[in-house]
């Protein structure tokens, strides 16, 4: 644990971006007393759940040396499919189908990236960008373009309700789900052979391939994980609001990439950590919260986010190798 704190500290010092954002938070606390209210902190925790899931998945794609812009489409598709399936087949089966759809979307992405030769991040960027529109379109067609509502069956214990509003002790259920995912993914990345294969693939695909490291399987793994985590994110997202619009996922891809990069995982691949990403997500959400409280217009907020992403990438280019 001490080591992890040290790691966080290191990533902190290495990232001027983090310092800048923390400064923003301090300023907000001074200027706007509402920041530290209970209601606002709950608000922050709510946004945290879905984004952190998507970002954890994205971390693997980026460590593997690629990128996944399709998560926005995946989230929309999973949300719509799951919500509409709850009535006919029940909650748990619907959730399982939703997770399967997410993983399938990721798997399809990986096959497309592999068939393109999987040479550079740029190819992956265009392929997943294209697939995002495909998944979004499927979501729109499936839902007929309308927002799907969930009907609660009275008397039954509702899994979705528990996920959205329930809590165990002081922790909300979705936060516990997050902790479990984080632990599993952290162990996967740092302790398993496949996790190492993914890092080596991101570090140098050619060298890894020539050493017999399963590069193709790593690429399939990272995209499937990303799709699966996006699906978990989607389910947490609609469990709270109990409705799913076919464009519910829009914007998640940029926020997730922002969180991963600001957290300190390099876009060059090879190095990074899911723990850093958690920090990144926290900071991205705090930032948008601060900007909201400070009365910055939504347009200006988008500009700020974009600027910070560019700054983070620039710093990343300067600090690594």
């Amino acid at each position: 644990m001490k080591k992890n704190i040290a790691l966080l500290g290191q990533s902190f010092l290495r990232n001027y971006v983090l310092i800048a954002i923390l400064a923003l938070i301090v300023v907000t606390m001074l200027v706007e007393p509402n920041f530290m209210t209970f209601a606002n902190l709950i608000n922050i925790m709510r946004q945290f759940g879905p984004l952190v899931m998507v970002s954890l998945g994205m971390t693997f794609v980026i460590i593997g040396g690629f990128i996944d812009l399709s998560v926005a489409g995946t989230i929309s598709l999973v949300a719509v499919v799951t919500v509409t399936l709850i009535d006919p087949i029940g909650q748990v089966p619907a959730i399982l189908v939703g997770l399967g759809v997410g993983a399938l979307c990721g798997y399809v992405n990986s096959l497309l990236v592999l068939s393109s030769g999987a040479l550079t991040q740029a190819e992956a960027l265009f392929i997943t960008f294209g697939m995002s529109t495909v998944y979004s379109a499927i979501a729109l067609m499936y839902s007929g373009g309308s927002t799907k509502h969930m009907r609660f069956l009275k008397g039954d214990t509702s899994v979705i309700e528990a996920l959205g509003q329930g809590s165990v002790g002081i922790f909300s259920v979705s936060f516990l789900v997050f902790l479990v995912c984080l632990a599993v993914l952290w162990v996967f990345q740092t302790q398993t052979r496949m996790g190492r294969a993914i890092c080596l693939t991101g570090g140098n695909k050619t060298a890894a391939h020539l050493c017999g490291v399963p590069v193709s399987r790593s690429i399939i793994a990272i995209y499937t994980i990303s799709g699966f985590m996006a699906a978990i994110g989607a389910i947490i997202l609609f469990s709270r609001i109990t409705t799913a619009s076919p464009v519910i996922g829009a914007g998640y891809e940029t926020n997730a990439i922002l969180a991963v990069v600001v957290g300190g995982t390099t876009l060059k691949g090879g190095k990074g950590s899911v723990l850093r990403t958690v920090m990144g997500v926290l900071l991205v959400i705090l930032m948008s919260n601060c900007l909201n409280l400070l009365g910055v217009t939504p347009y200006m907020q988008v500009v700020t986010k974009g600027a910070i992403l560019v700054l983070a990438i620039w710093l990343d280019n300067r600090t690594q190798i």
Partner: protein, 503 residues
């Protein structure tokens, strides 16, 4: 002094160039007479390209080391743009044309204004192409041209700058015999128009065909400059390859045994019916120029590239190798040609780089044991005397020789039977080279075998038990380097004679 400048278009005196750790050029001097075709020959890495890049301004020569006088003018700190306008053009092997633009546009790229628009561009381009009797339509897209036509466009482009000296870097490497005849015709026309040409080539026939003067380079130095009439082919080859072989190599392995591996009819786009055997306990050297297919052969055997069919037998039984992992399991080791791009994961630690081909040894049920991984790293680093502060140090911080040892150690962990080494000593200092030779020998003497590829002929000749020469994707000869002369081997590698085996 005045006479000299009028006679010589280019005069290079004592030019040196140092790259970090390597002296690429040492006090190079030679003159190119006006209106002559000057051949420049030398092995790969002799310094020809470096010298040409200094002339064109891509590289700068070492400060204060020597002078370059072009057309009576001393050149210092030039840029490719400046030297082009001064009248010194270079036509590189990998032609520099914009595929999506027309011939005319390419010739006057960036100068449409001076040409007064497109019409002027195409009229002037036509005139230039006519000067070399070239019939290409100036409106045609460059992507539709053949390689030789592209070369003509490059030559026309050089003429458009009123070039006085045109340097051609291996212009014939991708031409057919008929196309070469065309090129030679053009070279003669240019010569008649008073333009000098430096002609860089590996193909000695061409040099003897139409060069007036020949300069031979080796190891970054000028060995000799002679008029063609005073030079014999044998003398040229000897000067290209010969060098005093000092005691920089250990004795070659002694106990060559039975056949370990047999490769049968290996065919790819670049390789034609390559078959050979590898014996237990030997070092087999592959000699050939860049592009002759040396690397292609070992990559195909290792499963890194697809082939149009081949058969590998190890100890008499057929083995199927579809990817590098299969090769690893079949007992291969592989040191790739480019250490940094293909061998190492630079930001990763020494131990991660060493352990990455032997996951089986430190994982259980898919989980990594970091302590076992460290053991592997430490064991190999110690065995190969890798100089590093710790095995946790990023491998990018190590010197070239120590990085190469990490790659070798990575494979030694698997006890490979067949070790492929592609340019194992490139960019490595002499001391580390010797250590790598000793390692090679040890692998062979432990009952394995090594396939050695190197552009340094002395290295192959001194380490190998047997040498195969390659030319344009075919095996052209098999030699015993202890009895065959370097000239003989070089001749086979240049496609000039057929060697004893594989007729």
């Amino acid at each position: 002094m005045k006479i000299q400048t009028s006679e010589c278009i280019l005069s290079i005196k004592d030019v040196s160039k140092t790259f970090p750790g390597v002296k690429a050029l040492q006090k190079v001097s030679f003159d190119v007479r006006r209106g002559s075709v000057h051949g420049l020959v030398g092995e790969n890495g002799a310094g020809k390209s470096t010298l040409m890049k200094i002339l064109s301004g891509v590289y700068q020569k070492d400060a204060g080391a020597g002078t370059v006088i072009f057309d009576g003018e001393t050149i210092e700190n030039t840029t490719p743009h400046e030297s082009m306008h001064r009248g010194l053009a270079i036509i590189y092997q990998e032609l520099n044309l914009v595929n999506t633009m027309s011939v005319g546009e390419n010739i006057f790229l960036g100068r449409f204004k001076e040409m007064k628009g497109m019409r002027g561009t195409h009229t002037s381009a036509r005139e230039l192409l006519d000067r070399i009797d070239c019939k290409i339509d100036t409106h045609k897209l460059v992507s539709e041209l053949s390689v030789s036509e592209k070369q003509m466009v490059e030559i026309a482009k050089a003429l458009s700058f009123k070039s006085k000296l045109i340097i051609m870097d291996e212009p014939s490497s991708s031409l057919t015999a008929e196309e070469l005849v065309e090129l030679v015709k053009i070279i003669h026309q240019l010569k008649e128009q008073g333009i000098s040409i430096i002609y860089i080539s590996h193909k000695l026939d061409e040099i003897f065909d139409f060069c007036d003067v020949v300069t031979i380079m080796r190891d970054g130095q000028i060995i000799d400059t002679k008029a063609k009439v005073d030079l014999t082919r044998d003398e040229m080859i000897t000067k290209m390859v010969g060098r005093s072989i000092e005691n920089e190599y250990p004795e070659r392995p002694q106990n060559v045994g039975a056949t370990l591996m047999e490769v049968r009819s290996l065919n790819t786009r670049k390789l034609h019916d390559v078959s050979f055997t590898l014996k237990q306990g030997e070092i087999l050297g592959l000699v050939g120029l860049v592009g002759a297919g040396r690397t292609e052969i070992v990559r195909a055997i290792f499963g890194a590239d697809k082939t149009d069919g081949h058969q590998i037998l190890i100890n008499g039984s057929a083995v199927r190798i579809k990817n590098p992992n299969d090769a690893k399991l079949a007992g291969f080791g592989f040191v790739p040609e480019d250490r940094k791009l293909q061998g190492l994961v630079l930001p990763f630690s020494v131990e991660s780089n060493i352990s990455m081909a032997s996951f089986e040894k430190f994982t259980k049920f898919g989980f990594i044991s970091k302590s076992k991984e460290s053991e592997i790293g430490i064991r190999q680093a110690k065995a190969l005397v890798v100089k590093t502060p710790s095995t946790k140090t990023p491998v990018k911080n190590l010197s070239g020789g120590n990085q190469q040892k990490c790659i070798i150690g990575r494979w030694l962990e698997n006890d490979p039977r067949i070790f492929i080494m592609d340019e194992p000593t490139r960019g490595i200092d002499v001391g580390a080279k010797y250590e790598i030779y000793v390692l090679m020998k040890a692998i062979a003497e432990k009952g394995g075998a090594v396939i050695l590829i190197s552009s340094e002929l002395p290295e192959v000749l001194n380490m190998s038990n047997r040498v195969l020469t390659l030319f344009e994707g075919r095996i052209t000869g098999e030699f015993n380097p202890q009895t065959a002369s370097a000239d003989e081997i070089m001749r086979a590698a240049l496609g000039m004679t057929e060697g004893s085996a594989n007729p």
